[in-house]
């Protein structure tokens, strides 16, 4: 009996290579290697500008990492939403802006800690986190934005069908919006409703770019290298299959 499960051997090898690449380049970051990322994400660059505008208007920012569970299929997106929220809060603390988070109940302790730590990193001790949780999530977010007269609505994370409700209501309230989703059905809704948007894996890159942390940027560089390799593999596969050569497919099926 083979230890390796038939049909998953190539996947295992590829997965191992991916993990090694990410781990190695991240580790290099801990050793002081500096990564100069060429890639720019407009949505990320727009965040400080949007927060600055909210400060000028003397109105708060509304942030939500979505209502998806952290343990479900879209859990990682929610985690990323919370990470990005931390950096957004840090920028708010730096620029003197007021920010309110709307979260699901299970995210409350983490969100409060991250909120508090973001202000702490900017030297503001003892800030009471303005983190609110809602069962009726979309309605709660809309109510918060309406009563607080939020100038900016930022939404990154795990979203389901509540996204159009929140984003459209924010647009009607006149909020400047920056959002992102990796959930394929939600991607067009984010693009349609937000002034700046992130799609797909850009959401995972956003946290690293905002952190300016070379450990995280190392992982991002690794992802870019892997994507180039995968794209090359796809192009090669397309050419080979067009020439009726199934060798690559056969290898991938091992």
């Amino acid at each position: 009996m083979s230890i390796l499960i038939s049909g998953k051997i190539t996947a295992f090898v590829l997965f191992t290579l991916i993990v090694i690449t990410i781990a190695y380049l991240s580790f290099q970051g801990t050793r002081g290697r500096k990564y100069n990322l060429k890639r720019k994400l407009e949505a990320i660059e727009a965040i400080p500008e949007a927060i600055g505008r909210a400060v000028e208007l003397n109105r708060p920012i509304h942030y939500t990492p979505g209502s998806e569970s952290t343990t479900g299929g879209r859990g990682t997106q929610t985690w990323m939403g919370i990470v990005i929220g931390g950096y957004v809060t840090k920028i708010c603390a730096k620029l003197g802006a007021k920010i309110t988070w709307s979260v699901r109940a299970e995210h409350l302790p983490m969100a409060r800690e991250i909120y508090r730590e973001a202000f702490l990193l900017e030297g503001q001790i003892g800030v009471e986190p303005d983190v609110r949780y809602y069962g009726a999530f979309a309605v709660g977010c809309i109510e918060t934005m309406a009563t607080d007269k939020s100038a900016v609505n930022i939404l990154f994370g795990g979203f389901g069908s509540e996204l159009p409700q929140i984003a459209e209501a924010a647009a009607r309230l006149g909020c400047f919006q920056i959002g992102g989703s990796s959930n394929p059905p939600m991607v067009p809704l984010v693009v349609a409703s937000c002034d700046y948007s992130l799609i797909g894996e850009e959401n995972f890159a956003a946290g690293a770019i905002l952190s300016e942390n070379h450990v995280q940027l190392g992982g991002l560089v690794a992802l870019d290298i892997i994507k180039v390799c995968f794209t090359s593999l796809i192009v090669l596969g397309s050419l080979l299959i067009s020439a009726n050569i199934t060798a690559l497919i056969d290898i991938l099926k091992i």
Binding site: I3, A105, L108, A118, A192, G219, K227
Partner: protein, 213 residues
């Protein structure tokens, strides 16, 4: 020292062990890994249930404090505490099943459905704004929507018999390519995040997000 190990190192090590075992179980045919994974997944249920209890206690403590200190929204906190105990009692008391069925699914459930129904209005409003052509991206977006609309609606086939075929091509080739690109990217992003968590470079789950490394 003890607190550093307990608060930082132990969760990272546990996450790494469980994560690595579960990943290996997906690829490898080792009975010990399979039984460990099954056991870990069974452990997940009581852990989540315990977290629920902690959450409930945390919630009550927060709102009791709000009421006792008369914070700005303390009446809402009082309402929440009352509702909490009301639903707790009617849920666990034998013989109150029909009353629970009246209170929760029939009232709260219907209110939720009414809220979800609003999505259609928001979608129409969003679509209207999205169809305004402002730049190249919105032009492509609108063209895509027009193809989908005409391909799906019977009037599309009536105007142009090739509408259905055009829609299928549109869905099977460019849309599928785009969706796969997004899916592959998201998959890689998830792997990268998982690696960072297992190596302890990302400790958001522990309520930390400051610079590591």
């Amino acid at each position: 020292m003890g607190s550093v190990v307990g608060r930082r190192l132990a969760p990272v090590i546990l996450t790494a062990i469980f994560g690595i075992v579960m990943i290996l179980n997906f690829f490898l045919n080792i009975p010990a890994l399979a039984s460990f994974t099954a056991e870990a997944q069974r452990m997940f249920v009581p852990i989540v249930a315990s977290a629920g209890v902690v959450g409930g206690v945390n919630l009550l403590l927060y709102h009791f404090t709000s009421v006792s200190r008369r914070r700005g929204d303390w009446p809402l906190s009082a309402l929440l505490i009352g509702t909490f105990f009301f639903f707790l009692v009617i849920t666990i008391t034998p013989g109150l099943e029909s009353f629970y069925a009246l209170m929760y699914p029939a009232i709260v459930g219907r209110l939720k459905e009414a809220t979800w129904a609003l999505i259609s209005l928001f979608m129409v409003s969003m679509a209207y704004r999205s169809f305004k052509i402002r730049n190249l991206e919105t032009l492509l977006f609108t063209l895509g929507c027009v193809v989908i609309l005409f391909g799906n609606a019977p009037v599309g086939e009536a105007i142009w018999p090739g509408a259905g075929k055009a829609l299928r091509w549109f869905m099977d080739i460019p849309t599928m390519a785009g969706m796969r690109a997004i899916t592959i990217g998201v998959g890689l992003g998830i792997i990268a995040y998982g690696v960072r968590v297992m190596l302890g470079y990302d400790r958001t789950a522990l309520g930390e997000f400051s610079e590591v490394g």
